[in-house]
């Protein structure tokens, strides 16, 4: 065998192998045939013959105790839990791609369309219990989990109706009324800061798209709609720009802190040191201050969010659902557990107490825990405020099918703006562009504007 010949043969073999692998990999999946245009039929709902173990992934503190309670009383349907607080959607996404998704996973309302676009869910409407659950939940939550009543893909778990947390002692000390409108809020911000340069009315965390989206929601800044076979993207709108410009003014005047990350130790430290006077937050936030700033008990009060003009609108920040994931072959048992988890008063009470969850179930508002005054907040019935807030949440607000990517782009741009490179309104432009581009990448038909 000659030198050159063998070398050529070996080289040729390597190249051929590489090319064939590349070719195989480039083999596209075949286009689905005609009938795929119809929605996939709901999966069957048969009880299993023997014992069943379900996987349930979530990020709720204390959920392991809730699951333990179920497991104690349901030996035939055991639930294994996994906490995915770090990179919740990365974990879910990778599991889906690998075909190893759990039966049930916690999915935020804002991620439902995105994951649905990835075919992540199973329709449980074949289960009688599933469709019957509709009446047990607050209407806007069911609307989002059923995608406008087109199937049962998840059960709502909790919501985050927003309100304003106020250090009433600081306001009293500076002789200020608690603000009812955003204009009053801005005015109070100026007065507080003038009186004490170390005092800010609140903080603006650019890396919190969910919070910012909640503010947009309050101003009816609807970002996505679906009509005529296309998504209509209006991330950049007059209402959203109004919100951005408002906060930009506060930032420019140095009336809000921009160096604190929500939920971080420095944030709590700043509140601890009386450097921040209010918190624009959701119902689930009530346990944050109770648990982390125990010596401020009695100093906080909760009032409705400042409003734009005379409208009483509120926004929702966060809250999650428990979704039936692709590959779930135990729908019957999953529906049973999911239903208990999110409508049973005992479960709801435990989730509220340990995880700070504000239930999406209508039974939730009747919970004894929610009807009582909360000691930390001067025994005020803070949940009445959240219940009212809940009523004023725009029910037609829709999330986009690439929300994850858009949230990330929004955060990157908001962070740039708070660092001085551009304005918050530019972040809306960036998010709009990211929405259109990411939908285009996924071959989702979309246009800008209404």
């Amino acid at each position: 065998m000659s030198n050159t010949a063998t070398r050529i043969r070996i080289a040729g073999a390597v190249v051929a192998a590489a090319a064939s692998i590349a070719g195989l990999a480039a083999c596209s999946s075949p286009a689905p045939s005609g009938d795929a245009a119809a929605a996939a039929p709901a999966a069957a709902c048969e009880p299993a013959k023997g014992n069943v173990t379900l996987q349930y992934w979530n990020t709720v503190p204390g959920m392991d105790q809730v699951v333990a309670l179920w497991n104690k009383n349901n030996p035939n349907i055991q639930v294994e839990m996994k906490n995915i607080s770090n990179d919740q959607y990365g974990t879910i996404g990778n599991a889906l791609k690998a075909g190893k998704a759990p039966e049930l996973a916690q999915v935020g309302y804002d991620e439902l369309p995105d994951l649905r676009t990835q075919n992540a869910f199973v329709d449980a409407s074949a289960c009688a219990d599933a469709t019957a659950a509709k009446s047990k939940f607050v209407p806007w939550t069911w609307s989002q989990t059923s995608f406008g009543d087109t199937g049962v893909f998840a059960f709502p778990q909790d919501t985050g109706p927003m309100a304003l947390y106020v250090r009433s002692d600081i306001f009293k000390k500076h002789d200020l009324e608690i603000p009812k409108t955003w204009d009053e809020y801005a005015a109070d911000a100026q007065k507080l800061h003038d009186a004490d340069p170390n005092l800010s009315i609140t903080f603006f965390d650019p890396n919190n798209a969910e919070w910012f989206n909640g503010l947009l929601w309050q101003n009816n800044a609807e970002m996505y709609g679906y009509a005529g076979d296309k998504w209509h993207v209006t991330v950049e709108s007059d209402q959203s720009k109004q919100v951005a410009e408002y906060w930009q003014k506060l930032i420019d005047a140095k009336l809000v802190r921009t160096d604190l990350a929500h939920g971080s130790t420095p944030m709590y430290a700043a509140y601890q040191k009386n450097q921040i006077a209010t918190y624009v937050g959701a119902a689930w936030g009530y346990s944050m201050f109770r648990d982390n700033l125990p010596d401020q008990a009695g100093k906080w009060t909760i009032v409705p969010m400042p409003t734009w003009g005379s409208s009483a609108a509120s926004g929702d920040w966060g809250g999650s659902t428990v979704a039936f994931m692709k590959g779930n072959t135990h729908l019957y048992e999953s529906v049973k557990f999911n239903s208990w988890l999110n409508t049973d008063p005992e479960a709801l009470a435990l989730e509220n107490k340990l995880g700070g969850l504000y239930p999406a179930a209508t039974a939730g508002s009747a919970l004894p825990a929610l009807a009582e005054g909360v000691p930390y907040y001067n025994n005020e019935k803070i949940f009445d405020v959240f219940a009212d807030s809940s009523k004023n949440i725009d029910t037609s607000f829709t999330w986009g099918p690439t929300q994850k990517t858009v949230n990330l782009a929004l955060q990157d741009a908001l962070a740039k703006a708070t660092a001085g490179d551009g304005k918050l309104a530019d972040a809306l432009t960036a998010a709009q562009a990211a929405a259109l581009k990411s939908m285009q990448d996924q071959a989702i038909p979309a246009v800008a504007g209404n």
Binding site: D87, K100, T265
Partner: protein
């Protein structure tokens, strides 16, 4: 130059050089010292006391919290790191040694071509491969398993490169010839003769690969979602991302970081005579 001037000059140079090196030594050791101090403190003291001074000595309590947290997941992570790194480097060293030895000592057609392919592989770092590996593995269904991290880790083109030059330097042709004459097959020659000569070099290769796998972050991060499969690096990164929500976690991150660097330092100190001779004999050209 008079003797006195020379001595004075050299004393000045000596002090300057020592001062410079001390400053550099402080730079290199400062974070580790800080870690040691911080690991002994209770969570509350972290922000309120000066970072380089000890306060309350709570090291054992912190260690207890660390290992009992989340049903002892940290111990699990430590075990995983050991499995990935020790087993991975062991297997990797063996196959690199076999391959490098063959490339150094056997003459065959295509030898230089294969060696160039390996050199090309040295230029492609594992991080660049992690995402492509993830795409491939998820298409074949082995993501989120031990193998997903272990298998790619055993491949070390740099190990083969080192093995080749070490073999060329440390294993004389005559020894191999005589072994062959004694009737020993190639494998017996390799295992009973060559390996003994190569031991310091093999330890060097093992250490490089061990550190490489122990430190590897991007590959496990991309491949693994199941917490019980995480190596320490990924586990501590995950905890570090949660300290906002669970502030007590911060002390465990610090204590865990300290625990994670101790084994490697010990391994290095124990094996240092090997890798020093190994590196010298290779004298990387």
């Amino acid at each position: 130059m008079s003797n006195q001037t020379a001595m004075r000059e050299s004393r000045v140079s000596r002090t300057a050089v020592m001062a410079l090196m001390f400053l550099l030594a402080i730079y290199f050791l400062l974070p580790i010292y800080f870690l040691i101090v911080a690991a002994t403190k209770p969570q509350g003291d972290l922000a309120s006391t000066f970072g380089l001074a000890f306060s309350h000595f709570d090291l054992f309590k912190n260690l207890g919290t660390l290992f009992s947290r989340s049903d002892g997941i940290f111990g699990r992570w430590a075990l995983n790191s050991v499995i990935y790194a020790v087993l991975g480097a062991a297997v990797g060293t063996l196959i690199s040694a076999l391959c490098g030895y063959a490339l150094a000592k056997f003459k065959f057609r295509g030898r230089e071509f294969l060696f160039s392919v390996i050199l090309g592989g040295v230029l492609v770092p594992t991080t660049a491969l992690a995402l492509p590996l993830f795409l491939l593995f998820s298409a074949t269904g082995i993501v989120n398993t031990y193998l997903a991290v272990f298998l790619p880790s055993i491949v070390s083109p740099f190990g083969v490169y080192l093995a080749r030059i070490f073999t060329a330097a440390a294993v004389p042709e005559e020894i191999l010839e005589s072994a062959r004459l004694d009737g020993a097959g190639e494998f017996r020659t390799f295992f009973s003769v060559a390996l003994k000569l190569l031991t310091p070099s093999l330890v060097t290769i093992f250490l490089f690969q061990f550190v490489g796998i122990w430190n590897n972050f991007f590959l496990p991060m991309v491949m693994l979602q199941k917490e019980s499969l995480f190596p320490i690096t990924l586990g501590l990164y995950e905890w570090n991302g949660q300290t906002a929500r669970v502030s007590l976690l911060q002390e465990s991150v610090i204590t865990g970081a300290l625990v994670s660097i101790v084994p490697v330092i010990i391994v290095f100190i124990l094996l240092q005579r090997f890798w020093r001779t190994g590196l010298a004999s290779g004298s990387i050209k």
